[in-house]
């Protein structure tokens, strides 16, 4: 970096108030091209930003070539947006582009997250299978949002539940990730689900 003045910052209207005390995060996941970045962009109050993490091959390859002598650095990028909840609380939304096997090696992405939204596209349901399995293994609570595309097959919710092998309590909702109100509704559904889990003592 040559000069600090060249570093852009938040626009004046995007500054968080000094009273902001707590930040929460929700992670939006799903297979390639299902609309994760679209959802972050539609509901975020700031223009989405990108953060990156650099990982070495030794860190990445835990399931195939751990311990290999050559260490290759890989950069994993993450888009995120932000919603001001109140004068005290701010919510961050992380939408994870491609490279799904790397997300779970990103230290701290899922730790401390309230929960996750799994976006699915009925034309290619199977591209979101892997990430759902990973969330289950990690014990990260999630809801499933079906991003509706005009040319996508329409399944009844119960058929989807069976196909995705989801327990009855996990919400499945249709959405249009391009629309702010629809994306907001998905997030509200996740929060109500988490609240119910906590009330039942099932948030572990």
């Amino acid at each position: 970096m040559k000069a600090s003045e060249t570093v852009p910052g938040p626009r004046a209207e995007d500054q968080l108030p000094h009273s902001t005390q707590a930040a929460a995060k929700i992670v939006i996941v799903g297979g390639f091209g299902v609309g994760k970045t679209t959802m972050v962009g539609s509901v975020s109050e700031i223009k989405p930003l990108t953060t990156e993490e650099t990982m070495t091959q030794a860190g990445i390859g835990v399931d195939d070539d751990f311990g290999s002598a050559t260490k290759t650095a890989t950069t994993v990028a993450m888009d995120f947006g932000r919603i001001r909840i109140s004068d005290e609380v701010v919510l961050y939304l992380f939408g994870t582009p491609g490279q799904e096997r790397f997300w779970f090696l990103w230290n701290g992405l899922f730790e401390g997250a309230l929960g996750a939204v799994v976006l699915v596209d009925t034309r290619r349901l199977e591209v979101s299978f892997e990430v759902m399995g990973r969330l289950e293994e990690r014990g990260v609570p999630f809801v499933v949002a079906v991003n509706t595309f005009p040319d996508g097959p329409r399944y009844a919710v119960e058929d989807l539940r069976q196909a995705l092998d989801l327990t009855p309590e996990i919400p499945i909702i249709e959405c249009d990730a391009r629309r702010r109100a629809s994306s907001r509704d998905v997030l509200v559904t996740l929060m109500r689900f988490l609240h119910a889990l906590m009330a039942n003592g099932n948030l572990t």
Partner: protein
């Protein structure tokens, strides 16, 4: 038309606990030893001696840039006139997240910035936070 079929997975046993955090929120930035400058670029080293900063930990400037401040530190202090998350700092400074946490660990130690949200990652969200977010989204 039949959708493809998935199989549910079971939770894995929890991973071993992370190295004990050396900093508690209240004591943030008071126990760290000065770091060598090149550590900024040692982004693949162990995580043990860094502050446990989350992507959404809020950072606030506490002081004007000292004369010894690097351009990165000056930029952080300028951006953090109001609270700003580590993720946002990483994005604006174009530094990988882990490099950002190393820089911030030094600044917390020097007392030029303050971490406002919990430094240590929580495994369970706080109930009041959960409800605040739920009600806030419902009002949007």
């Amino acid at each position: 038309m039949t959708p493809p079929q998935r199989q549910r997975r079971r939770p894995e046993p929890p991973p071993p606990p992370p190295p004990s955090p050396r900093q508690q929120p209240a004591a943030a930035g008071q126990e760290e030893e000065p770091k060598k400058p090149e550590r900024l670029y040692t982004i693949t080293g162990t995580d043990g001696d860094r502050a446990q900063l989350d992507l959404v930990t809020l950072i606030v400037a506490r002081a004007d840039p000292p004369s010894s401040a690097t351009p990165e530190e000056t930029a952080v202090l300028r951006l953090c006139a109001g609270p700003l998350s580590v993720a946002e700092l990483s994005a604006y400074l174009r530094l990988p997240f882990s490099a950002m946490t190393v820089l911030l660990t030094d600044m917390l130690a020097a007392g030029t910035v303050h971490a406002r949200a919990p430094i240590v990652r929580q495994t369970l969200p706080d109930r009041s936070l959960l409800e605040a977010v739920m009600h806030g989204l419902e009002r949007l």
